[in-house]
């Protein structure tokens, strides 16, 4: 298991997200993508449900169990998850730190 990271600035968190996304959907797909805070999980990154599961697990590994990303997603409906952008996740992580 990876060491839990303490990343506090938006840029640090975004950089960690890029690394997680690369693991989840494959480095070869990420190469051609411009991943920014405005990138959405489904439209831009084209993640499906099982990839969002993997993403969620990796967020836990990277940021620790105090960041209950899965619980946060559970309270969202499908439309909200589909519209979710990386900036929303960064906001959530910062709010937990």
């Amino acid at each position: 298991m990876d060491t839990v990271k303490t990343l506090t600035t938006r840029n640090e968190i975004l950089e960690e997200m890029r690394s997680i996304i690369s693991d989840v959907i494959g480095a070869e797909f990420v190469e051609d993508m411009d991943i920014t805070e405005e990138s959405s999980f489904t439209s831009d990154l084209e993640m499906d449900s099982i990839e969002i599961v993997s993403f969620s697990e990796k967020v836990k590994e990277s940021f620790g169990k105090d960041i209950d990303f899965t619980g946060w997603l559970t309270n969202k409906n499908l439309e909200e998850i589909i519209k979710l952008k990386l900036k929303d996740v960064i906001d959530f992580i910062q709010s937990c730190q």
Binding site: D48, S49, T70, E79
Partner: protein
């Protein structure tokens, strides 16, 4: 990605730690993956139980396999998972074909199983290949598309992509693997003479408009310690009404008194 080694290969597993050593294993159905449970049902159960979910052989994040889709292999995989986590006894919940795996497991290793939750599991006898195609289209694809039509463009686009991917998985498993043949090996599970010896407390949770609704009654008549309950919806009920399904499973596991009052006998 948590992957464990079992005798037949590697298995993608996810775990939600609850406040208990009491473990529930959730088994998804054919053509799906563990995400069926991950965002709705599993978090509800993890309030009181440790929850394990895994992708079935050849499904989800596991490698594609050309064979081994019969219940003997599927139950061996499940038992290997239980062994891997060194669990003496577990509760099992299985949806659709996953429900058949749970039933078979209770038949062959009753000492490892506590409570059983069978969600809209089908009687496979008499379903032809064309039957599977029709059921898949009618019970999965159409309701899913209908539920999300006339919604936001982004949502429609996501659903369309999801459906296309599901159809691609369906076509691979049905036409390029031994799945269809393997299903014929297990088509008479509901009529297996040992089924009536399953004495585990069992919840049969069926969808009232599912093409398998009557199969709940068949099982109810066979399993001596079962309760049958119908929820609204068709076979895609756990996808569309995940929270309600999770609530029913949670209530059954906790044996709430009011649950007994609401069960249709």
């Amino acid at each position: 990605m948590p992957v464990i080694n079992i005798p037949s290969g590697k298995l993608h597993v996810q775990e939600l730690e609850g406040n208990s050593e009491d473990t529930v294993i959730l088994i998804h159905g054919l053509f799906g993956n563990l995400s069926l449970y991950y965002f709705n049902i599993a978090p509800q159960l993890s309030e009181n139980y440790r929850v394990l979910m895994y992708d079935l052989r050849g499904h989800g994040k596991n490698s594609k396999e050309e064979s081994g889709y019969h219940l003997n292999q599927m139950t061996q995989d499940l038992e290997a998972l239980i062994d891997y986590y060194e669990l003496e006894k577990v509760h099992l919940a299985g949806y659709s074909f996953g429900g058949l795996i749970a039933l078979k497991m209770a038949m062959i290793a009753p000492e490892r199983i506590d409570k059983l939750m069978i969600i809209d599991a089908p009687d496979l006898s008499g379903i032809s290949e064309e039957g599977f195609d029709q059921i898949y289209e009618r019970e999965f694809i159409k309701p899913y598309l209908q539920q999300h039509e006339n919604t936001h463009k982004e949502v429609e686009s996501f659903i369309r992509k999801k459906v296309d991917k599901n159809i691609s998985t369906y076509n691979f498993l049905m036409h390029k693997t031994a799945l269809l043949f393997d299903l014929t090996l297990d088509k008479n599970l509901f009529y297996h003479p040992d089924l009536k010896y399953i004495t585990n407390e069992t919840l049969l949770l069926y969808a009232s408009s599912s093409c398998f609704a009557k199969d709940g009654k068949t099982l109810s008549a066979i399993l001596p310690s079962s309760s049958l309950k119908y929820l609204e919806g068709n076979h895609s009920m756990p996808m569309i009404s995940g929270r309600q399904v999770g609530k029913e499973l949670h209530m059954f596991l906790k044996e709430l008194n009011e649950y007994a009052l609401t069960v249709d006998q």
